[in-house]
């Protein structure tokens, strides 16, 4: 980066620090010379470091500082000098001396001890007298006194012989010295930093944040705003998002709406009557077994629609009015009443058909909604998932139309071509497996099912004959493929990191 640009980006704090750096490398010195607060200097140094202008070296060590008595003695002198001066004037009793010295008894006694040890005083006739040695002490500055006048903090490891002696002496006494852990910061300029400190940095005021008061007072006029580092990383922001599966669901709904379909909705809890019987699924069909379908325990049974029930029963038993042979078994009302979690959204199609009148036709319906299967969760199985389904109820509908709708629908989903293969579903005839041509993989993939509802389904529900084209699919595949999800459980794991960071649905 050009130096000029760099200078433009300097914050007012940095602008105060940079010129000092030419000569000053120690943190406390910078604080002193800049007249800034310690935190301000630290902040400026940190910013400069981020700009690659300097390195901050930190050194951990033990240092000596003055404690409260140390501070006091530095100002008032050591108490032993005070005592010596008092007894130099005239010998005093211990009691008199203590009163005059105004020291507390503990301190007083310990100082007396020290002076006696140094033979600076002696006791004669119950009074304390100064010795010749003592007189010399008054004249001479002691090592301890010298030590107190040092620049603190002092590096414990770097004491001179004499200092060491004084330190040992003072350390024995109460609250004079403290030993602390200290981090010493020194600055080392980088190459860029060396170049920068050579530059002249004007002391004109630069503006940081634009504030409303600046705007009101127009104080920003004729001043320069600090330039920002536009590439600098900023902290992540939090924002609200729809769940990514919702995005995909909304997208598919939109396709149906564009194609002129009406949305169907309905309950998740259904009777077997609606979910299976009305769709001509035989009552002994394996899909009804406990290991495939969730049944409710309490309540366990629902009620059956009075008008429709006998028609559905008849169509199973003997084909009713449809011309079919039916399944030729005895239809069980108990089986029909069982409550379950709907196994497919085709139940919504059945319920929709049962409400339709001839004059409503032609009509098209869709749903994108949840269905349930009794599966144990694993990487490719969910017990509830979205199903997409559409029907066209049109007296003139035929198989060619079905292929046309499929082609149009899948074109909107991004697949260029559609292929039909024979398949089997209990409620459609013909039944169709829908393959689409994958534009990236360049191959056919199986994506959905389709067909024309059997007369055994439509006749009892509608009350008249009418072809109903139907097609649908699960959504797992398109969702997993779009977001490259390998473990299907990740769809509903609600991992907030994933939900916040996943790319949005862009189709």
């Amino acid at each position: 980066m050009e130096l000029k640009k760099l200078i433009d980006m300097l914050d007012p704090l940095e602008r105060k620090i940079v010129p000092l750096l030419q000569t000053e490398k120690s943190f406390p010195e910078l604080v002193k010379k800049s007249n800034l607060q310690e935190v301000e200097v630290m902040r400026a140094l940190q910013w400069l470091k981020n700009k690659d202008i300097l390195e901050i070296k930190t050194d951990k060590k033990k240092v000596i500082t003055l404690d409260q008595n140390g501070q006091k003695y530095l100002q008032e002198g050591l108490p032993e000098k005070l005592i010596l001066n008092l007894v130099k004037e005239q010998p005093l009793t211990i009691k008199q001396l203590q009163e005059k010295s105004k020291l507390n008894p503990g301190e007083f006694n310990s100082i007396l001890g020290i002076l006696r040890q140094k033979v600076a005083i002696e006791i004669k006739d119950g009074k304390i007298n100064i010795t010749e040695q003592g007189k010399k002490f008054i004249e001479k500055e002691s090592l301890e006194e010298k030590f107190l006048k040092k620049q603190f903090p002092l590096d414990l490891e770097r004491l001179q012989e004499e200092e060491k002696f004084a330190f040992e002496q003072l350390k024995k006494r109460k609250n004079i010295l403290k030993i602390e852990d200290s981090t010493e910061r020194t600055i080392e300029l980088t190459k860029l930093g060396q170049q920068l400190t050579q530059q002249k940095i004007s002391d004109e005021e630069v503006l940081n944040r634009l504030t409303s008061s600046m705007l009101k007072t127009q104080s920003w006029k004729n001043k320069k705003f600090r330039h920002y580092d536009l590439q600098a990383d900023v902290p992540q922001t939090s924002f609200g998002r729809k769940h990514f599966v919702t995005e995909a669901v909304d997208y598919i709904k939109k396709i149906w709406l564009e194609m002129g379909f009406q949305e169907m909705t309905g309950s998740l809890v259904q009777t077997a009557f609606w979910d299976l019987d009305s769709l001509f699924v035989p009552q002994d069909h394996p899909a009804r077994e406990m290991q495939d379908t969730f049944y409710l325990q309490d309540p366990a049974q629902g009620s059956l629609p009075k008008e429709l029930y006998p028609k559905i029963k008849a169509v199973h038993e003997n084909g009713g009015k449809t011309g079919s042979k039916g399944w030729q078994y005895q239809f069980s009302e108990q089986e029909s009443k069982q409550l379950l979690l709907r196994t497919h959204t085709t139940v919504l199609s059945a319920q929709t058909l049962s409400q339709l009148k001839k004059e409503d036709l032609p009509a098209k319906f869709f749903s994108v909604a949840k269905v349930f299967r009794n599966e144990t969760l694993d990487w490719k199985h969910l017990f509830e998932f979205y199903q997409v389904e559409g029907i066209v109820v049109d007296p003139n509908a035929n198989l060619k139309h079905l292929k046309g709708y499929l082609k149009e629908f899948y074109k909107k989903m991004g697949y260029t071509d559609v292929r039909m293969r024979p398949a089997h579903f209990p409620y459609t005839e013909p039944s169709i497996e829908v393959d689409v041509f994958h534009p990236v993989k360049k191959e056919w993939i199986e994506l959905g099912g389709a067909g024309i509802f059997r007369p055994e389904v439509t006749q009892p529900l509608l009350g008249f004959e009418c072809p109903v084209l139907a097609w649908g699919q699960g959504m797992g595949r398109i969702i997993s493929e779009y977001w490259k999800i390998k473990d299907i459980r990740d769809l509903y794991k609600n991992n907030l990191k994933q939900l916040r960071e996943i790319k949005t649905w862009l189709k």
């Binding site: 609200g240 709406l257 409710l296 060619k400 046309g404 039909m420 007369p455 939900l499």
Partner: protein
């Protein structure tokens, strides 16, 4: 769906034509089976459950051969009439009432086709036979048994024979408790006082249907030439079809089908009956459904390609087809013969108006509003454990249980906040604030509805971070109702999932439809959460009543 493995050489011989791999693959899948694999020696295909007649090499080759035009049309299966008898005694009437039987002679068994017969039997048992419940099949070497054969029921301790895969005689009860097949299928005889058996003129027990054959009289070997076949169950029609599927497959192996007399207590009939069934087929109907313009000749050609006969506007349905209930089934087969790939896509010019469900539309709006409040949408399962819905919430509010769910997802959730707390408890290693919402269904018992269950759409909002409090969640609620132009009232209430004095019940036009408050520390502890949570749950179904 069951898959079957075909010996490619046998298959090609039966079909009468060899096709290159690619064409073979294409034709197999366009016939209506899912191809799994083709290699030099084997073809593996998945058979749809409506076509049990394709579960054998012979049946599949027969259909395929017609489909590719080598041997189209109805195949004749001559039946030699005999007067051998199978007597069905009244004792089975309430147990396993029906059997359909036949004899097939002059078979040449080797290792290969013994395996094939076992495969057919197995696959039919599993699918069409619904694991032997609906139909159980027995095949016996004719040389070991003597007509007339009787089908009757006896008390279990009166039944004693050496079953297949056993080295000793066992009673029926021993078979059910000690023999592997007995244990697998014993439930089909559960609660019966008498068990059904086939027994021959020399009083030898042939089998205990639907469990197992006798080792002495019910085991096919390479010496076997002629076989007796029986299917037993509850619906004669089903048994008849099943029998037809087997005997036609054996006939395709080179056997000669012989009929027997079945003496039921009140009637007597010949079995098997391989006469094709007639079904009227209207050319108009076919053309209307398929959108084609076929003439009668083409109709006939396509029916023949699917193994049917055609005469006098009637399709002749082969006796082994179990899936033709209605002319629509013929229409599908005609479409298959015409080729699904040959239908031209067509979009009719039918004008319809697209319409979103108004309530769903409302839910999308709610979502948009909440996302604007910087909330992250989550999507949870509708199923949770009772512990999660109640105990962990410090609440006694029983949810609706499922009968047969495995694991912890075994109750229908009756409120949403537990789902939200579950999400928060699983995301504690991620950044805060964690402010989330979810729109979803909750379930409550309600005798007024058809299912006895009422479903509501609700929204839950949970705020989770160091500084969340009632003020913050109430700000969101205020903004939410304000956006929707709805006024609400709030009253203090008691709810053991929340901190007392910090939980309110919300009403709109006197309808109570929401809770708001700070989740109690006890509940947070139950979810192992160490961050405060405030929450709001609104019944959108009820709210929508005032909005629409």
């Amino acid at each position: 769906m069951p898959s079957i493995t075909l010996n490619r050489k046998v298959f090609e011989m039966l079909v009468g034509k060899k096709l290159p791999d690619e064409q073979l693959q294409d034709r197999i899948s366009m016939l209506g089976t899912d191809l799994e694999e083709v290699n030099e020696n084997e073809i593996i295909v998945e058979i749809f459950p409506n076509r049990p007649d394709l579960l054998s090499e012979q049946g599949f080759a027969r259909a395929f051969s017609s489909f590719i035009g080598v041997k189209p049309g109805l195949r004749p299966y001559p039946v030699t009439k005999t007067t051998d008898r199978v007597i069905i005694e009244p004792s089975v009437t309430n147990i396993r009432p029906y059997t359909a039987c036949a004899v097939v002679k002059n078979l040449k068994f080797n290792d290969e086709n013994i395996k094939e017969i076992i495969q057919i039997q197995e696959k039919l048992h599993i699918t069409y036979g619904r694991n032997r419940k609906k139909c159980a099949i027995g095949v016996y070497p004719l040389e070991k048994i003597q007509f007339p054969i009787r089908y009757l029921a006896r008390e279990p301790d009166q039944i004693k024979f050496q079953p297949l895969e056993s080295d000793r005689e066992m009673t029926a009860l021993q078979i059910l408790s000690q023999h592997k097949t007995g244990r697998d299928y014993g439930h089909l005889l559960e609660g019966l006082e008498k068990f059904p058996i086939f027994i021959d003129a020399n009083d030898q027990i042939l089998s205990l249907p639907p469990i197992i054959n006798s080792h002495l009289t019910g085991k096919i070997s390479e010496q076997t030439k002629d076989v007796f076949i029986e299917c037993s169950g509850f619906d004669y029609n089903v048994l008849r079809k099943c029998l037809n599927i087997i005997v036609t497959a054996l006939a395709d192996m080179g056997g000669e089908i012989n009929s027997l007399e079945l003496h039921y207590p009140r009637t007597t009939c010949l079995s098997p009956n391989l006469e094709p069934e007639e079904m009227k087929i209207s050319l108009n109907y076919v053309n209307k459904i398929l959108g084609l313009d076929l003439d009668e000749k083409q109709l006939q050609k396509y029916l023949e390609a699917m193994g049917y006969g055609y005469q006098d506007k009637k399709a002749l349905v082969p006796a082994y087809r179990a899936d033709v209930l209605h002319p629509i089934d013929l229409v599908e087969d005609i479409a298959i013969a015409y080729g699904y790939e040959n239908f031209e896509p067509e979009i009719p010019s039918v004008a319809t108006i697209g319409q979103e469900d108004p309530f769903q539309k409302f839910l999308i709006k709610v979502r948009n509003i909440l996302v604007g409040f910087k909330l992250q949408e989550t999507k949870s399962y509708h199923l949770l454990s009772k512990e999660e819905l109640n105990q962990k919430m410090n609440l006694d509010y029983p949810p609706i249980p499922l009968k047969n769910a495995l694991g912890d997802y075994n109750h229908l959730r009756n409120w949403l906040i537990p789902s939200g707390l579950k999400v928060l408890s699983e995301n504690q290693h991620h950044d805060y604030p964690q402010n989330i919402f979810e729109i979803g269904t909750v379930f409550k018992k309600d005798k007024e509805t058809e299912t006895g269950v009422k479903e509501y759409q609700r929204v839950s909002i949970l705020l989770c971070h160091e500084k969340t409090d009632y003020t913050e969640i109430k700000q969101i609620m205020d903004a939410f109702f304000h956006t929707l132009d709805k006024e609400y009232t709030i009253e203090e209430t008691e709810h053991s999932s929340f901190i007392p004095g910090r939980v309110g019940r919300i009403s709109v036009q006197d309808k109570k439809l929401a809770y708001i408050g700070e989740i109690s520390p006890e509940v947070l502890k139950n979810w192992e959460l160490t961050m405060p949570v405030t929450a709001l749950e609104i019944n959108l179904t009820e709210l929508f009543e005032f909005i629409k």
